[in-house]
Amino acid sequence: MELFVFVVAAAMVLAGAVGVVTRSNPVHAAMSLVLTLFGIAVMFVAHNAHFLAAVQVIVYAGAIVVLFLFVIMLLGVDKAEDLSVEPITNQRPLAAIIGVGISAIVIAAIISSRAGLGASGQGVNQTTVDSPDANIRQLARVIFSDNVFAFEITSVLLLVAVIGTVVMARKTKSVGTGK
């Protein structure tokens, strides 16, 4: 059963990722991204990270992809892009070599070091029928005790991002002088 879940989720993730890279229409690429994000959320559930799976679906597949689609529609770039020309000579073979090389190095490191990883923490609570909120309780306890300062800084980061975006995307009267 776990193998079945892994195979299906991995197929979703990889198909979506290849779709993002290869689809010429940005809207189709965004839809492929949704497929990948849902596959990742399924894998989070398989690892008992239920809170993160919910956040993944809400924040990524909900907010971020909708933001992408809004920008695509706002800019009117929902046309298929011509992918047949290579902007730089040999760009794609070089990119493929570098990407495959990075993956190969990381996989080699994973395989060579997989035996050295033992349990080092207090354990991750499993969500069961008796305690359906075990994961979220444990996560909240760590976030609001050990990492409370980082959590507060995060709110400042979000505030800065919102204000910066409003300032950047606002239309001012003096902007048109450059054109």
Partner: protein
């Protein structure tokens, strides 16, 4: 033999390495800035997946906390990046990063 094989954390880590490689190729190949952002999201998700897989392997909840913060930072990054793209695209009609090489405005 295959029917009893259980996916271990190594499988998830290898999948996340492959996903990271696909995202890298996408960033280097595509020229539409929106698609490049999506590929960066792919790479961030690959890292998130490896965080969660290692978190359950070494029985330490801190990996999931790291994923939580990565999610927040990714959201902020997408908001700021898309704001920059919108303000650039408002003056130019082209949609490729090759045409943005000059910082002339």
């Amino acid at each position: 033999m295959l029917s009893v094989a259980q996916p271990t954390s190594t499988w998830y880590l290898i999948l996340s390495a492959v996903l990271f490689g696909i995202g890298t190729i996408g960033v280097m190949v595509r020229r539409n800035p929106l698609i490049m952002f999506m590929c960066i999201e792919l790479m961030l998700n690959a890292v998130n997946l490896s965080f969660v897989a290692l978190s359950s392997q070494i029985a330490n909840i801190n990996g999931q906390v790291a994923v939580f913060f990565v999610l927040v930072v990714a959201a902020a990054e997408v908001v700021v990046g898309l704001g920059i793209i919108v303000s650039i695209m408002r003056r130019r009609t082209t949609v490729t990063v090759d045409d943005m090489s000059g910082l002339k405005g």
